[in-house]
Symmetry: C2
Subunit: 241 residues, 2 copies
Amino acid sequence: MSTKKRIEKDESLEKLRHQIDGRDSFRPEVSPAVIKRLPRYFRYLRELIRMGKTRVSSAELSKMMNVTASQIRQDLNCFGGFGQQGYGYNVNYLYTKICELLGVGFGFRAAVIGAGNLGSALVGSPMFEKRGVDVVALFDVNPAVIGKKIGPAYVYPLTEMEKRIEEFGIEIVILTLPKEHAEEIGERLAECPIHGIWNFTGKELAIKDRGIVIENVHIGDSLMTLCYEVAKKLTLENEKA
Amino acid sequence: MSTKKRIEKDESLEKLRHQIDGRDSFRPEVSPAVIKRLPRYFRYLRELIRMGKTRVSSAELSKMMNVTASQIRQDLNCFGGFGQQGYGYNVNYLYTKICELLGVGFGFRAAVIGAGNLGSALVGSPMFEKRGVDVVALFDVNPAVIGKKIGPAYVYPLTEMEKRIEEFGIEIVILTLPKEHAEEIGERLAECPIHGIWNFTGKELAIKDRGIVIENVHIGDSLMTLCYEVAKKLTLENEKA
DNA sequence: TAGATTGTTAATCGATTAACAATC
DNA sequence: TAGATTGTTAATCGATTAACAATC
């Protein structure tokens, strides 16, 4: 039996096992490309719900999202058959499934470290609420902000970080503090019972293989991609002239 | 002659033409995958400069960046031979070239529309300065902020947007205003002599094919990717137990 | 010259798209 | 049943990696 065939067989066996066990979520290995698209499906499904649509075909959705219908069917099928032949996809059911995969409704508790401009801006936005993430605390060293309420949560002294993480059962930490202190805080966090770090510091954290999922954000990279395209446009316009 | 061979021939001809013309930047069609990696090279080259390194090989850089040396050489070669056999890459020269491609030093002038939490946080950060982008104005409807200086620039009434864009020669606009007004502002911007929009509103702008480069940012997608991985981790840990 | 390392081609791998049988 | 649309396989496309000749 070829390797490929064997892997396929294993997958259907795993799927079956999950069905028999009555587990609600099937989590096979899925390619990064697909995972990165899930949040986009999440957004468009919310939009469909807002519009009151109860049913959508891959063809319709593909027009909305500007991707191929084939890709949508392929993507969704990584996690099991969410649709129905001849009908399409039930919007609410599909949304529920995607939410399950993304941990929405799991009720992750989060804390923001660094209650400066960026930290405050994030906490003040509806982003977390939409995604079922509860920001339950902020931490800072600045006495001027300690004790204040920002968005839905209070600012605590950074010295209390470890204590409060345990107390509040914080699972995800959002780093919006200056680069210079990222290293030190990273080390301290590696010893905490957290599961994920959303890292805005721009500093690579040296705490791999400690069981914490890390997502690095480099917002400036997006600006540069824009600048690349603008520079290219101007170069071309210049050459023509 | 095969299509592939012909395309390759065309590319070297274009390269040659640029050399003869004495133009400093060669801009062939480059795959999105490569373009998206350029900002990362930019960051690591700055780091090398900061460290005082003057020379780097693809092997060294690949270790730093955690990618293959092959990919680095392939990427950089899309734009011409920036290295030298037997030596490697001159850090400063390579940095200069990458900066050229990304429009750093071009001195793009930018304006922020929506001087709320997010707009202020962005403008207050060193991000723009590092990338050679000058934020020269903010716009808002809120009288409480109009006239104030935020970071390096003043806040103007939104009604003056078109006038000030011309006056200041603004090329790039950063949208950090509420979703609800994105559509309307987008329409107004389509009539302005700007080249790029960095769109944080989460709303798709309906102004394609109007010659303006648009880069949409969905920061929440990054949070959801993190949540996906955390949810997966917890599911697996649960199953084991 | 010998050693090092790029530039570049060829091979591999993975992701996307097309096609169609299964099935609602 | 006939029509629609998924789930899934096969074909294509693009991106990454390996290998090595060119050359500093």
